[in-house]
C-alpha cells in the first residue's frame, strides 16, 4: 500500500511534525512493504502565500493567524470557505465576532482568497503520488484545512481512503468529526501506535474494522464508533520520530530563510501530577492521563541521533510535565554532552534550586513551570499542588539561573474571592524585577478538564465557544461534541478587582526590562541594591540576624519558623522585633508574603535581559 501522511496548516513552521514523524515509523515498523510519503502542508501554505501574494503574506503572518489566534479560530476560518465552497462563508459572523472583542482579523481576511486555490494545488500534488490511504493528523486549528483537503481528494478520487487522527479526534470529538463529514472514511481516536496499523491491515484485507478500539468507520450510511480502549501505549512501543522527509521539504523550501528550525522530541505522555490531582482547568491530556515516560537514556539516545542527523541544537519537548527521574538519568547526560543545546521543557513549579541549576547546566533554559497564580487559595482551588510563595521562589530562581520562564496568570476559578487577589495585587509592584506573565487571562472551559466533566464544580451552563460559529456550518448539538473550548458564565473575580489585576500585570510587563533587585555580599554585610521600576534607587545594608533572616527566607518560611532558625543560629531576636522587621521588609518590597509564609525577593544572578522578539 501507498500511505500518504499529511499535516496541514497551522502546524508551526519552525517545527517538524512529531505526529508525522511517529506515524511514519509506526507504519514502516508494522508494514515494511508499504511506501510512506509525507506532505508538509503547513510549509507548503507559507510558500503558497509568499509566492501568490507577491511577498506580502509572510511566514510571520502565518504565526499571527495560525498560532496566536487559537482562541478566535481565525486559522480554521481561513479555510472554511474552501470547505463549504463559498468564499464568503462566515465572513459576516467573523467580522461581528472580531468587532465585539477587538480582535484584529486583517491578515486572516487577506489570506482567505488563497485558501481554495491552495487546497486544489495540494490535492493535485498528493494525487500525483497515487496514494491508497491519506492520513491526516489534526491538532488545534488543523481541522478545517484538513477537512477541506480531504473533501477535495475524495471528490476527485472517490476510491481513496481518508483517515483522520490526532488530538482533535479524541473521544466524542472524533465521532462528531466522522459522522458530520462523510468524505472522512475513518477516524482513529486516541493513540495511533496500535490502532493505525490495525486499520491498515483491515484496509489491505478489505474487512470491516470492527475490532479496532476507538475507531470510527462507515457501516453503509451509518457512522460507527468502536468503544475506546483504556489501554495506553507502552513507552517501549512509542517510536523515535523520523524527520528525514521534513528536512528534505525544508531544504527545498523558499521560506527556509524565514525560519529557525527546531527538533521536537517526546519523552513522556500523560501527566503524573494529573493522575493524582487533575488541575481543574486543564484538558490537555485528553482521555489518556496515565503517565508513561521513556527511560532517560533512551530519550538522550534519540536526541543524540536527531541532533547529529539534522545538525540542529534547538530541541522542543512536547511532554506535558517532565519525568522527575530525568533529573537523574536524562539531564545529567545532556549537561555532560558538552553541546550547546537549547531545550524547552514543561516542568512542575516546585523544583529545588539544585534542580533548576541542572536545567540551566543542561541547556534547558526555556521552561514552562505551570505557575498559573501567586495566591495559595486560588492554587488550592485549581488543585495545583503548589503555593504562591513557592511560585514566587521559582520565579526568583529563574533569574538566578538565567532560565526563561513562560507562564500565564489565570483567574476566573469558581469559588475564588476578591480577597484572594487583593494582597497579591498589592505586592505585584515588588515583583517587577522577576519575569512577568504573558498576561492575566480568564480561564476557558476545556473539554476533558474536571471543570468540564463535573458541572457541579461551577461551570454548569456551557455552550461551544462563540468562535466556532464562524468556523463550522453545523448545528449546536453537533458542535457540542466536536469542539474543545466552551463558553460559560464568568466565575470568580470580576469588576474592579479583575481590572486592577490586569492593570497590575500590564504594569509589571511594562516596568520589567530595567528592574533589578540584587543581593551582594560585602564582608559581613549583606547589601540589597534596589533598582526596580517605580521606586527610588536604594541600597539597603543588612548585618547580623537581619542578614541571616533574609538568607533564611530565600526558601520561604513562616515568622515562627524563621525565629527558631535564627535562635538555633545563635541570634537572640525578640519575637516582636522580628515581626516588626518582617512587616517593614514586606513594605519595602524585599519580601513577598503569602498568608503566613514570607519569601525573599532579591536575586543573586542578573541575566542578560533582551526585549522579546529582538532577534
Amino acid at each position: 500500500m501507498r500511505v500518504h501522511l499529511v499535516t496541514m496548516p497551522w502546524h508551526p513552521l519552525d517545527l517538524p511534525s512529531l505526529q508525522l514523524g511517529l506515524l511514519h515509523r509506526i507504519v514502516r515498523r508494522a508494514r515494511p512493504g508499504d511506501e510512506v510519503t509525507e506532505f508538509h502542508g503547513s510549509l507548503r501554505w507559507a510558500e503558497f502565500l509568499l509566492e501568490h501574494s507577491g511577498g506580502r503574506l509572510t511566514p510571520g503572518d502565518c504565526v499571527e493567524v495560525g498560532s496566536d489566534a487559537i482562541f478566535h479560530g481565525l486559522g480554521d476560518w481561513v479555510f472554511s470557505g474552501a470547505l463549504y465552497d463559498d468564499p464568503g462563508w462566515g465572513t459576516a459572523r467573523l467580522r461581528d465576532y472580531a468587532a465585539g472583542r477587538g480582535v484584529p482579523v486583517g491578515t486572516a481576511l487577506a489570506m482567505r482568497p488563497y485558501a481554495a486555490g491552495f487546497v486544489d494545488a495540494c490535492a493535485t500534488e498528493i494525487l500525483a503520488a497515487d496514494p491508497d490511504v491519506v492520513g491526516f493528523t489534526s491538532t488545534f486549528m488543523q481541522n478545517v484545512p484538513s477537512l477541506a483537503l480531504a473533501r477535495a481528494l475524495k471528490r476527485r478520487r472517490p476510491g481513496l481512503t481518508v483517515v483522520f487522527g490526532g488530538s482533535n479526534c479524541d473521544g466524542p470529538m472524533g465521532h462528531a468529526l466522522h459522522r458530520n463529514h462523510p468524505f472522512v472514511d475513518h477516524v482513529v481516536r486516541g493513540e495511533a501506535e496500535y490502532a493505525f496499523p490495525a486499520l491498515l491491515r483491515h484496509l489491505a484485507a478489505g474487512t470491516d474494522p470492527v475490532d479496532v478500539p476507538g475507531l470510527c468507520w462507515w457501516d453503509g450510511p451509518v457512522s460507527r464508533a468502536n468503544t475506546e480502549t483504556r489501554r495506553t501505549v507502552a513507552p517501549a512501543d512509542i517510536p523515535s520520530p523520523d524527520y528525514d522527509q521534513w528536512q528534505a521539504a525544508l531544504d527545498a523550501s523558499p521560506v527556509q530563510e524565514y525560519l529557525h528550525p527546531k527538533l521536537v522530541v517526546e519523552g513522556a505522555r500523560g501527566c503524573w501530577w494529573g493522575e493524582k490531582h487533575h488541575c481543574t482547568f486543564c484538558g490537555l491530556n485528553g482521555s489518556a492521563m496515565a503517565f508513561r515516560a521513556k527511560p532517560g537514556e533512551r530519550l538522550w539516545t534519540e536526541i543524540d541521533r536527531l541532533v547529529r542527523r539534522h545538525r540542529i541544537l534547538d530541541v522542543v519537548t512536547v511532554d506535558n510535565i517532565i519525568d522527575m527521574a530525568y533529573f537523574r538519568d536524562f539531564l545529567p547526560r545532556v549537561a555532560a554532552s558538552g553541546w550547546d543545546l537549547r531545550l524547552h521543557y514543561e516542568v512542575k513549579s516546585n523544583l529545588t534550586p539544585a534542580q533548576l541549576r541542572l536545567l540551566g547546566d543542561s541547556g534547558t533554559v526555556h521552561i514552562q513551570p505551570g505557575i498559573e497564580s501567586l495566591g495559595s487559595r486560588v492554587l488550592d482551588l485549581m488543585d495545583k499542588g503548589v503555593t504562591g510563595a513557592r511560585n514566587v521562589r521559582t520565579l526568583r530562581e529563574c533569574e538566578n539561573h538565567a532560565l526563561t520562564c513562560s507562564w500565564n496568570l489565570l483567574y476566573g476559578f469558581p469559588g475564588e474571592r476578591d480577597d484572594d487577589y487583593t494582597p497579591v495585587i498589592d505586592q505585584l509592584p515588588a515583583l517587577v524585577h522577576l519575569q512577568p506573565p504573558s498576561g492575566a487571562h480568564r480561564i476557558q472551559l476545556e473539554r476533558f478538564s474536571p471543570h468540564f466533566t463535573d458541572p457541579d464544580l461551577g461551570f454548569g451552563k456551557r455552550r461551544p465557544a462563540a468562535m466556532y460559529q464562524h468556523v463550522y456550518d453545523l448545528p449546536e448539538d453537533e458542535l457540542a461534541d466536536l469542539v474543545y473550548l466552551f463558553d460559560t458564565e464568568p466565575a470568580g473575580i470580576g469588576g474592579a478587582v479583575e481590572r486592577r489585576l490586569r492593570e497590575a500585570v500590564a504594569a509589571w510587563r511594562a516596568g520589567h526590562a530595567d528592574s533589578r533587585l540584587l543581593f551582594e555580599e560585602d564582608g559581613a554585610e549583606l547589601l540589597v541594591h534596589d533598582r526596580r521600576h517605580g521606586r527610588p534607587p536604594a541600597t539597603h545594608r543588612f548585618t547580623g540576624w537581619q542578614a541571616a533572616a533574609l538568607r533564611h527566607l530565600e526558601d520561604g518560611r513562616t515568622v515562627p519558623a524563621l525565629h527558631r532558625l535564627l535562635t538555633a543560629g545563635g541570634h537572640e531576636v525578640p519575637g516582636e522585633a522580628l515581626e516588626t522587621w518582617v512587616r517593614r521588609a514586606v513594605g519595602r518590597g524585599l519580601l513577598f508574603r503569602d498568608g503566613a509564609t514570607c519569601v525573599s525577593l532579591p536575586t543573586w544572578g542578573e541575566p542578560v535581559r533582551l526585549p522579546e522578539g529582538s532577534g
Partner: protein, 179 residues
Amino acid sequence: MSGPDGGVPHRRTGRRVEATAPLDLSGAGRATAEAVRFLRECQGHGLSVRWRAAGTPSYDPALLRHLPPPVELPADPGALEAWRTEHTHGVLYHRRGPDFVTVLDRRRRGTAVRLTLDHPGLLGTFLRLLEPTPVAVLDPVGREALALLTAERLVLACGGWAVTLPPRIRRWPVPCTAI
C-alpha cells in the same frame, strides 16, 4: 574556562569586568587578537565589560561591532556612537554540536544567516583560531579555511595573527528566544 583570561589584564567583580589598560585595536599583531579574544569571551559569558580602546584599526572596524563597545575610542570618536547603537547582544555567536558548529550572524540588519560548519578543515580551523594564532603556523588546509572564514567575516586576520570572531554562547539571555 569560567571567564575571560589570556594576556589582557583585568579586574572582575561579580558579573562585571574591567580591563585595566587600553586594548590595542590597531591590528598590528598579537595584542589585537588577544583583545578580541578577551572581549569575545566576556560577551559569550554574558559579562558586562568596561574597556578603553587604543590604536587605529588597519582593518574594517565594523568587524568588531558584535563585541561590547568601549567607553573610549580615541582613534575615531565618531564611530563610537555607531558601535553603541549597532551593538546588540547575540548579534553574532556560535554553538557547539557533535562534529559541527552553528553560527548565527545577524550583523546585516534584517537578516539572520545560519551557518553550519561541519567540514573538518573549516571546523578545525574555526575552533583552533578561538586561541589567537600566528597565520604562519597554519598548514595549507588551515590557510584555505582561514581564507573562507575571513571572507565570511568570521575571523579577524591582521598583522600576521588570526582570531575567531563569534563568541561561543555560554549564557543564554532572558528570554533565550530573543537571539
